[in-house]
Amino acid sequence: MNFALSDDQKLIRDSAENFLADASSSAAVRRAMENDTGYDPALWQRIGAELGWCGTHIPEAHGGLGLSFVELTLLMEQMGRRLVCTPFFSSICLAATALMEAAREDARRRLLPRLASGEMTATLALADSGVDWRPDALTASARRLGSRYVLEGRFRHVPDGASAELLLIPALLERRWALFAVDGKAKDLVRKPLKTLDPTRRIAEVRLDGVGLPEDALLGEGPEVGEGLNRTADFAAIALAAEQLGGAQQCLDLTLAYTAQRVQFGQPVASFQAVKHRCAEMMVMIEAARSVVYGAARVASAGPGTTELSLEAACAKSLASDAFFFCAQEAIQLHGGVGFTWEYDPQLYFKRAQGTSHWFGSTPALHERVASPLLGPAR
């Protein structure tokens, strides 16, 4: 496995970094998070239509750029650094991946190009925080009505669930896994936007009170849908880990900048050994997470087996979650009094660190995922 980035990959990373430093500045994030949808449509337009980021990991045959998961994580890392508020994670990391992993070819052909171009937003309804895909954990069910389907169910926390134009809904159909596409404007679909503690990411409760669907709303069925959704959650976990990694890095960078200029007891705060060691520990956690996130991205880009992917996701997500929380916490601490003010940015990262910590499994749950194959199931 070669960890060197290609020149193209470096270009993607660096141009994203430069673009977002402007386009998703602290002021821009603070404006976007006050919006109805929680994001700036103009920025989304540029990301989707102009920069083409939405097509990154979607095959060329389906209107994408056909790049690998590595490029997707490089973008997510940069977006995480800047707390970008867009439906990128829900539309691309979740919904597009779900289509690629769990939908039939005709459905992919029909829907992926619209996601790749950024013209449509979508999301995937997760069983709470996406950790449990066993059929009996499913919270929706479908029944056939002639050539149509009727969906019932409730999803408590769907990312961008109120604004997404298309919702992918996993449901139990005649005791089998099935994946449905539901238009955001469908009748009897109730979407309740929730107020989130992390204002940079929106969540909605989604209820399907007998939503009637046409035949082609069924995107796939059978056990491969279950497995595909499991894989989707693992891919999305790695992408989210990359986002967390970017956030952690920015917490360290903000702290280095602040402590370099803040003077206490006649010397820069950054010259105190305890502060230096804390920052060094932040870096160690970040680089450990980075190694594993980059490794997981490479595994993910190579068409991994489901078990291998699942372990990579557990490693990457648990380390990135812990690094992000630690770095956000220490960013607040080392900013001193201003660290817990609204005006300074550490609090935004801190809230996102907590908000992302349990998606696709809390760290203890992911540890158990790793422990099981080594030690046998928990008692």
């Binding site: 709470d128 925080s129 408590r156 926390h157 929730l194 107020k195 989130t196 503690l197 992390d198 969540i203 803040r262 003077v263 206490q264 007891f265 006649g266 010397q267 820069p268 010259s271 105190f272 050994q273 305890a274 502060v275 916490q329 607040i332 601490q333 001193g336 009094g337 660290g339 817990f340 003010t341 609204w342 005006e343 609090q347 801190f350 809230k351 907590q354 908000g355 910590s357 349990h358 998606w359 809390s362 203890p364 749950a365």
Partner: protein, 396 residues
């Protein structure tokens, strides 16, 4: 079996609180704690006067100064019962706990006569002006200046204080200001009592990470106070200020702990209800939190026993570091118990309380001496380790 005096006293406190913390005051239960300081300020001021009518303010002060003159054991009982009853955060605590004892120890007779009764009666409220924006942990780096007006003898102040809670709700602020313009560090400072309601003072709230504003910046632009409103002599400000901080650790810690215990109860209850109690990692952390409560309780009892021989001992020097980190970790634990539900702001009062706990406790390890300062103090003062070298002046 005959009840001891302390047991009788405990019943008396509990009975009084049951009888009075009701009606209009009912809604104050468990409110106004750390991070919730600006809940119902007017009502909580009325509550202070209610307490005063019952003789329950300044319970540890000597009777000659209007206090109740309770023994330490009885003060502990009072604070425990107050917390157990869900008594609200005390609007008067800076007067009662900080400036009052300071005036009793260092004030003139006139100052005592002027200021103590208002504190005891719950009619005059105080806030503190210690920190400055460019000082932070370096408390002695005071840049607020006070000069004498040769005409009136009044003190005239220019400068800025920060992290002042309840400034809007108070009548008086005590300020450490540089009265000797040539001085540096902790020399040449004076400790002044300044009325807040005057044109030379402006108050600006500081918005916190919660979106609310519990702290303020206070700007002094030619603010004035009478010549006699100095505690101690000019130049003695640092000594007075340090003595005042010493008063902050007292029996009220036991009351604070009852508050913490209540918060841990909420976390346990949430874990039992939402199933987090089946997660071994959560179980271990809740156990540790419970053990930490034991530590704080026994530690406070050691402090009370040790206070009798007069000097600040190790258990007192580690207390702020211990409780603030314990509390911050409790906030994180609360969120991890909530799990995905913690992401969403709802009208469930327990959930809201736990989310607030998570956010507000971030300040605990920063204000009143950051973790880093606390560890320095422990190393240098409790363990006698040498000071670190400093950059020489002029170099960097």
């Amino acid at each position: 079996m005959k009840m001891s005096d302390d047991e009788i006293f405990r019943l008396e406190v509990a009975r009084w609180l049951r009888a009075h913390l009701r009606g209009e005051f009912e809604c104050l239960r468990h409110r106004g704690g750390p991070g919730d300081e600006d809940a119902h300020p007017e009502l909580r001021k009325r509550w202070e006067r209610e307490l005063a009518r019952g003789g329950w303010t300044c319970v540890g002060w000597p009777r000659e100064h209007g206090g109740r003159g309770l023994s330490i054991a009885q003060q502990v009982i009072f604070h425990e019962e107050y917390a157990r009853a869900g008594g609200p955060g005390r609007m008067g605590h800076i007067g009662e706990g900080l400036i009052g004892p300071t005036l009793i120890a260092y004030g003139t007779e006139a100052q005592k006569r002027r200021f103590l009764p208002g504190i005891v009666a719950g009619t005059e409220f105080w806030c503190q002006g210690y920190s400055e924006p460019n000082a932070g942990s370096d408390l002695a780096n005071v840049q607020t200046r006070a000069r004498r007006d040769p005409a009136t003898g009044e003190w005239v102040l220019h400068g800025q204080k920060v992290w002042t809670s309840l400034a809007h709700e108070s009548q008086w602020i005590f300020v450490v200001a540089r009265s000797d313009p040539e001085s540096k560090g902790n020399r040449g400072l004076s400790f002044l009592l300044v009325p807040l309601d005057q044109p030379g003072i402006a108050i600006r709230p500081i918005k916190q990470l919660t979106g609310t504003a519990e702290f303020n910046e206070v700007f002094f632009d030619g603010a004035r106070t009478a010549a006699e409103n100095i505690v101690g002599q000019p130049g003695e400000g640092w000594a007075i200020a340090m003595a005042l901080l010493g008063f902050e650790r007292g029996v009220s810690t036991l009351g604070q702990q009852m508050h913490f215990a209540h918060e841990l109860d909420l976390v346990c209850e949430m874990a039992r209800v939402n199933g987090a109690a089946s997660d071994p990692a959560i179980r271990a952390r809740i156990a540790q939190a419970w053990i930490g409560l034991k530590v704080m309780r026994y530690n406070a009892l050691r402090m009370l026993a040790g206070a009798q021989d007069g000097h600040l001992r190790r258990e007192a020097m580690m207390y702020k570091y211990y409780w603030s980190n314990w509390h911050r970790e409790l906030g994180k634990l609360a969120m991890d118990v909530l799990g995905p539900d913690g992401d969403v702001v709802s009208d469930d009062p327990t959930r809201t309380r736990l989310q607030q706990l998570f956010l507000f406790t971030r300040a605990d390890t920063i204000y009143a001496g950051t973790n880093e300062i606390q560890l320095n103090i422990i190393a240098e003062r409790a363990l006698g380790m040498p000071k670190e070298p400093r950059f020489e002046k002029g170099k960097s």
